[in-house]
Symmetry: C2
Subunit: 92 residues, 2 copies
């Protein structure tokens, strides 16, 4: 088993209301930042998981997304999987 | 002026409490997903901004992060800037 860092990027689906994004957009405008044509707010979840392979890690986290992390009705998610750097236990 | 897509990734600073991450971690465990050794929850903000250059877009969004989007005491942020795909207005 190896350790993998999985970054889950969850975004509101295009076309659906994104009240947080709207609030950020308005706040930026009222601070004088014009030239922002779109703002969307989503979530970023960083997991470290044990898995036999990169594909296995991806499968497991996709399942977690569907069951818990993302709302499939209103959100899209995508994953980035990288092998976690080895941990030195300091006892070798 | 060109349009740039800027992805702002905001994460809780290492070592600080991350109650959302803890909640996600516990929820995954109670659903039977063991082998998750860490879970952190942050925000993902996607902005589309007008700017003269990629460096200019980055500068402006870094300012927005410091003033509004991120909490510098508890959060770290990083940016990914890419040129936005050209919009076809359909009137050409």
């Amino acid at each position: 088993m190896s350790r993998f860092d999985v970054e889950v990027r969850i975004k509101p689906r295009p076309g659906l209301l994104d009240p947080q994004g709207k609030a950020v957009h308005h706040a930026l405008e009222s601070l004088g930042y014009d030239g922002v044509s779109e703002a969307k707010v989503g979530r970023l979840i960083a997991l470290t998981v044990e898995a036999g392979s990169e594909a296995d890690a991806r499968d497991r986290v996709e399942q977690m997304c569907r069951k818990l992390l993302a709302n499939p009705v209103t959100e899209d998610f995508s994953l980035r999987v990288t092998e976690a750097p080895a941990v030195t236990d300091g006892d070798g």
